[in-house]
């Protein structure tokens, strides 16, 4: 399916993959011994706990914080909830409401293990069933309505108000957008809870809440049926609440999630152990829910130089791939990220962009690559910006990318206005149809600039992965290997929410998913 416009050395690719696997396994071994407040809140959510206490604190936080303060989280919230369910003969939601009124979970008498297990199994079964139902609905709708041709046109809405977002998302879909991403409000990633209910007040984005997910999914279902094309929904499974958002997205039928193994560490200064542990469970849920993840390597190029640091993007793609596979994701769920971020003033820059995009395309032939538009070098010159986006659109269709984030001519000015989005869709539509089969028509010269650049990137990647493997991923990050950013191995936000699993730790949801996803033993890697 993928056009072989370049020669890519399969031995080197194999080597890179093997190095990445070793790097990922080191991390995975640590992950297997750790849980976090967010992982536990996710279990609580999947057991049916929702809503807030009188102060507006979400009930999953109420129960987990309580057990954490009692120093009992190493056993897993599932145990404490199930124990309470048995003790009080009330469902988890009522237990949580009781906690909000003062009930202490760890003060309840420990119940008969068999009955507790039974309760855990029962609520796990319900949770998985709900997720599966949404997955089946998606499968049915995609089959019945179809999706647009790749590259899929992906646009963002970010008005801050979910109801304005809906109008704009529907207008965009009607004009050809295949995927709608609701951008999250500034700094939600650092909130150690997920806000509740529909919201109308965000800055640079709209709060990710379960209610907002539902509102937008309904609006897109409506427009999908109207258009006879399944319009996909994206949000951010990232930050301090990664796995919780995965659970919300699974329940509300999101189709894609921004979800990266390292983004939180690098760009939000979140603690490493916290991030790695959270990403594992979040990915497992995404895997189970049939959600496609979008990794965030494009972000490296907003702080580091796109020409000099191209190999760091590819290396990170390999690492994200391995950590993803280990969490149960399949190749078709790995929307590995890269970006069109070379300085437009660079002579022959377009050739280097093509080299990068085509190389990644050939290395991950079965993954729905996520290609990001120019952002860093966009300026207030909206006319030139629109042309930069045109070249990006061309690069994308020429190299056969999958998930194509439309560049906005107003990138340097504001989050997109309704008209900007339509102009971008028209730009992409024109170019992608007008040059639809260009990628089948050409080959790059074996001794040319593009081929040479591709080889340099692959060589640089292998060497870079060797260096990381030598010191380990955590130290590599702490030494600024990625994105020109250094993060201390033991610092960062959310560190206090990391808990070492006890001998008696139990997470029935994770266990069930691992079983169903065929993850015989985590840390040993998944399946391609």
């Amino acid at each position: 399916m993928v056009n072989q416009l370049l020669a890519v050395d399969e031995d080197k690719v194999g080597k890179a993959r093997e190095l990445a696997r070793r790097i990922a396994q080191d991390i995975q071994r640590e992950i297997d011994q750790t849980t976090t407040v967010s992982v536990e809140r996710t279990v609580a959510r999947l057991f049916g706990i929702d809503g807030t206490n009188a102060d507006g604190v979400p009930l999953p936080n109420v129960v987990v914080d309580q057990v954490d303060q009692d120093g009992q989280l190493h056993r897993g919230i599932a145990f404490w909830l199930a124990n309470a369910v048995v003790a009080l003969d009330q469902p988890p939601q009522e237990v949580a409401q009781a906690c909000a009124r003062g009930l202490s979970l760890c003060s309840l008498e420990i119940q008969e293990p068999g009955r507790v297990s039974q309760v855990m199994e029962e609520y796990t079964r319900r949770a998985l069933k709900a997720i599966k139902k949404q997955r089946d609905t998606r499968t049915e709708m995609k089959a019945r309505l179809g999706t647009g041709p790749e590259p899929l046109k992906y646009v963002i809405v970010a008005s801050g108000n979910i109801f304005e977002d809906v109008k704009q998302a529907q207008a965009a879909a009607r004009h050809g957008a295949d995927i709608i991403a609701v951008i999250r409000t500034t700094a939600q990633s650092l909130l150690d809870y997920v806000p509740y209910g529909t919201t109308t007040e965000g800055f640079g984005g709209t709060y990710a809440t379960q209610a907002n997910f539902r509102v937008m999914r309904e609006a897109l279902d409506e427009v999908s049926e109207e258009l006879g094309r399944y319009v996909q929904l994206v949000n951010y499974c990232s930050g301090l609440c990664m796995p919780e958002i995965a659970a919300m997205g699974a329940l509300e039928r999101l189709d894609m999630m921004l979800n990266d193994a390292m983004y939180g560490i690098l760009f939000r200064d979140i603690n490493m152990d916290r991030t790695f542990t959270d990403q594992y469970f979040s990915r497992m849920i995404n895997a189970y829910a049939g959600i496609i993840i979008n990794t965030g390597e494009d972000n490296y190029l907003t702080t580091a130089d796109a020409y000099e640091k191209a190999h760091t993007v590819l290396a990170s793609n390999f690492i994200n791939e391995q950590l993803g596979l280990m969490a149960g994701l399949r190749q078709w769920q790995l929307g590995l990220g890269h970006a069109f971020e070379l300085d437009p003033k660079m002579p022959n820059g377009f050739l280097y962009e093509l080299a990068m995009a085509q190389t990644i395309r050939q290395i991950f032939p079965n993954s729905p690559l996520k290609y990001m538009p120019p952002t860093k070098h966009m300026t207030g010159d909206i006319f030139l910006g629109h042309v930069q986006n045109a070249m990006f659109n061309l690069a994308s269709v020429l190299t056969g990318q999958s998930i194509h984030l439309l560049g906005m001519l107003t990138e340097a000015i504001h989050t997109p206005h309704i008209g900007d989005r339509i102009l971008s869709i028209e730009n992409a539509h024109y170019i992608m149809e007008n040059a639809r089969d260009l990628g089948r028509e050409i080959k790059f010269r074996p001794d040319g600039i593009v081929q040479k650049r591709s080889e340099d990137i692959v060589n640089g990647t292998v060497q870079f992965l060797e260096e990381i493997a030598a010191v380990g991923l955590k130290r590599a990050i702490s030494e600024g290997f990625f994105a020109d950013v250094k993060r201390p191995t033991t610092g960062g936000k959310g560190r206090e929410g990391v808990v070492r699993k006890g001998m008696d730790y139990v997470n029935p949801i994770m266990d069930a998913m691992e079983r169903e996803l065929g993850l015989v033993s985590a840390g040993e890697g998944g399946q391609l």
């Binding site: 801050g160 108000n161 300026t379 010159d381 909206i382 504001h414 206005h417 008209g419």
Partner: protein, 246 residues
């Protein structure tokens, strides 16, 4: 109920407008100040000069701002909606029945205008965007005089063939040359006493109803017009005049 309509960027009432223009001043704080004052006079607030390009003696600006003005939806006149147009068969049947003879039209690109593609799209067999041209309509008799026809010659031909309607195309609009040409045509038709018995129609990419009416034409057609729109209008207008005995 007052319903104030403002431009919409990403939320109701935000008034967001983009504009660009060049000032004949060298780039610098003075040009910027002049730009700011101009857009303030236009009624924009929260003005952002997002791009400023030095053109040596001139400065090009790209600006975003919030438009203070608004339009009350309920104060808008009930603008006549674009009528559901008749089809090819329907129009011919209508003419046969209500008029009972062929409608005669003479068309030309007048003055120095040589852009025939638009007029041909309306008048010739082939038509435009899958719609046949007037020549193809059995109930129309058409004379397409082509390009660069003086107004006098056009009216002369109209008299000669006893035309019901005159179709004028004007594409070049620089320095309002079309306004001059079109005004001259109307005056000439009036001077020669032809105005009452001719339907005057003008078309072109910069033409619209409003302008056509202002200049004394009976109809004006802009971008994307097809022969069907014109044929339908003419059929109804000729019928109306017949009925009124004009």
């Amino acid at each position: 109920m007052v319903q104030q309509i403002r431009p919409y960027g990403d939320s109701w009432g935000d008034g967001q407008v983009q504009l660009s223009f060049t000032l004949p001043l060298p780039a610098g704080p003075k040009a910027r100040e002049a730009a700011n004052r101009l857009v303030a006079q236009m009624g924009l607030e929260n003005v952002q000069i997002v791009h400023e390009k030095d053109l040596h003696g001139f400065t090009f600006f790209i600006i975003y701002g919030r438009c203070r003005h608004s339009v009350d939806l309920n104060q808008l006149p009930e603008v006549e909606a674009d009528e559901q147009p008749m089809g090819f068969e329907e129009i011919n049947a209508f003419i046969q029945e209500r008029i009972g003879r062929r409608i005669v039209v003479v068309g030309a690109c007048t003055g120095t205008d040589a852009h025939t593609v638009g007029l041909d799209a309306i008048m010739n067999m082939k038509g435009y965007q899958g719609e046949y041209g007037l020549e193809r309509y059995p109930w129309f008799e058409t004379y397409n005089l082509g390009s660069q026809i003086p107004n006098e010659a056009l009216l002369q031909k109209a008299v000669e063939v006893q035309a019901d309607a005159v179709l004028v195309s004007q594409v070049v609009t620089q320095r309002d040359i079309h306004i001059k040409n079109l005004t001259e045509l109307v005056e000439l038709a009036e001077a020669e006493g032809l105005r009452p018995r001719l339907i005057l129609v003008v078309g072109g990419p910069r033409i619209d109803r409003r302008l056509a009416a202002e200049l004394g034409f009976d109809a004006g057609f802009g971008v994307g017009t097809t022969a069907r729109d014109v044929a339908g209008f003419l059929a109804k207008e000729v019928a109306r005049r017949l009925e009124r005995g004009e």
